[in-house]
């Protein structure tokens, strides 16, 4: 009878479903399967897939590895805070620390080279948001995420923090150079 009364036909589950409804259900189902297949297709043929390589770590361990990397590869310092600019060896590993409220250090990459960038946080959750490319990755304390990146264009890029991390969140800006 209506949606606020019990079904008028007590055996409602035996009523046939209209062709049009079946057709729409079929469209919705097939579309879902296409979207499902699309993600798998992209894993095989697409060139933008988030890395699955991640390890449990601690701020101390990750910080020590990052400091070693910085000490070995720094090419200059920038700004009045003397933030090291670190050239990541082509095809090699780079470390990026997220902490209250900075991305550290500045990384220098080359266009067309593939790098393994290790991301982790020293404290709260942070958000790696590379602009203006617009790639966004969650960065968590206790997890070392190894993301393989290949820059496709030269330029100066900003890393915005887009996971709320306290009062200084909006000043947490990092930098990546691509030569």
């Amino acid at each position: 009878m209506s949606a606020i009364l019990p079904p008028s036909d007590r055996l409602w589950w035996k009523q046939p479903i209209d062709k049009v409804e079946w057709a729409w259900i079929a469209i919705a189902f097939v579309w879902g399967m296409i979207m499902f297949a699309m993600m798998i297709y992209w894993h095989v043929y697409g060139k933008q897939n988030l890395s699955n390589e991640a390890y449990k770590t601690t701020p101390e361990l990750f910080g020590a590895k990052a400091e070693k990397f910085i000490a070995e590869n720094t090419i200059r310092t920038e700004t009045d805070q003397n933030i090291p600019v670190v050239k990541v060896p082509a095809g090699g590993d780079g470390y990026l620390i997220a902490r209250l409220w900075a991305w550290y250090p500045i990384l220098e990459l080359e266009k067309g080279q593939t790098y393994k960038i290790h991301l982790s946080s020293m404290d709260y959750a942070h958000g790696f948001s590379l602009q203006p490319v617009n790639i966004n990755i969650e960065v968590l304390p206790g997890y070392e995420h190894v993301v393989k990146m290949t820059p496709t264009k030269e330029g100066t890029y900003a890393i915005v923090c887009n996971e709320y991390c306290g009062i200084g969140h909006s000043s947490m800006l990092g930098r990546i150079y691509v030569k």
Binding site: E144, E163, Y164
Partner: protein, 564 residues
Amino acid sequence: MATTYRTCPVSGLQFEDQAEKLMRWNAVAGVLWLLVGGITALLVILTRWPAIKLLPADQFYLILTAHGVDMLILWILFFEMAVLYFASSTLLRCRLATPKIAWLGFWLMVVGGITTNIAIFQGESSVMFTSYVPMQAAPHFYLGIILVAVGALLGTAVFFGTLVVAKKDKTYQGSLPLVTFGALTAAIIATFTILAGAGILIPTFLWSIGLIKEIDAQLYRMVWWGLGHSSQQINVAAHVSIWYLTAAVIFGAKPLSEKVSRGAFLLYILFLQLASAHHLLSDPGMSSEWKVLNTSYFMYFAVMASMIHGFTVPGAIEAAQRRKGYTNGLFEWLRKAPWGNPVFSGMFISLVSFGFLGGISGVVLGTEQINMLMHNTFYVPGHFHTTVVTGTTLAFMSITYLLVPVLFRREMILPKLCQIQPYLFGISMSVLGLVMMGAGTLGVSRRHWDMAFSGAPFQYEWPGAAYLMMGLTGIFGVIAVIGGGLWILLVVGSLLFGKKLDGGKVSNQPTPIPANTQAASAVAHGSDHVGVPGTVVLALLLFVCFVLYYFVNWKYLSEVWLLS
């Protein structure tokens, strides 16, 4: 327990005394939280509007936390409790099971809501609605939410109990009405959701008072979203039920097929919870297999369910209208719909906005690789303002225009303003959602105080279009707040000053729903079948938009840096 039953002379609905009081109190409490949420919304909007930037950073994050908690938890949960009591006691015409427990639940929710708000406004709990660890709030922030959850769980239990009462007292025959069935799915999802919430918030509370040393940041996110996302699925099940309710009350519409509509609700129960995984698509701790399995293979069954409802709700309206003789062309049934009745106009804007904006953006956002383009950007709140706000909140607002005369026995004041309110709020909120998504597509962050990054060691200049989008966000946000404020004024004004209406006959006994005659059943067997070509066209339009927008985003993705 002695109680009375009132039969509303306008609607014929039967209200049991205790259930009626509980519905009123829950609805009023919900509206008060919406008021707090609305004031905070205005402050958030005026701060994110780059030309105004009203609040300093610390106050902005405080207010944003309050906005999230008061809207997403308190306004919606209180109103949903009223919906549950309505769908059980009123629609089944029976007494409410254990009203004392229901009142206990109500007061726990009140105390919990106030406790959490005290914690937020004391300033030590600006951790956002999500309260990701290891950022820590004051212990009473978590405690308040736990109390609200326990209260809601009690209310849900009373709902289940009331279904049993109705069955036992034989106040209806056959199966539950579809709307009650929808509310039942909402209540089942709520039970799961609240248990997931307990699973994470109780340890987090213990951690905040020092009894637990550490909570893993990834584990927290995973379990928390079992609460955070699933609770939005309660909303979906609840507002879809309200769509069916509106179609039934305004048009006398019956579902195109009980089997299809109920099957779609069932899919929500089975698959929506897994969709919580789409909040973790850009996280380090989960594998691609886990992400793809949970968000696609399973989530798409829930998407399918929403697509089905998106078809059957307007389809039911179209069929009812065509039976009344509005059969010219594809859309006479829609043109001749009562667009001046806010119960209908609000419901229909809710349906369209939820489908075209909230639904499509949600699926795109929940695609594993595409998520990297949008994770934590302004796109995310853009998406959920077109699901939770134009979807759920607008559906709740529109049904209130029905509830004020029926449940509160007051005539709505200022009927002209009541007519425009759903348009003002629904359209401005939809545009707001769109421009927020636009800003997010350009990279603008959510939960971010300063687009100029003052105090940072470097500069980054957002594209001009991003500032334009944020300016539009400000303008349409303010209009939406006015539209929401107008609704509060109209509702509260009607409750205080509206013309008192006759309550109707009161009886000591419930009047059961009359059994269907054989003749009525026979009619339902397809002999009055009408086609719904207009709905087919609308559904295909939705589908075309969906497919195009989906592939446009893959194109965007193919243009960024290579990642593997």
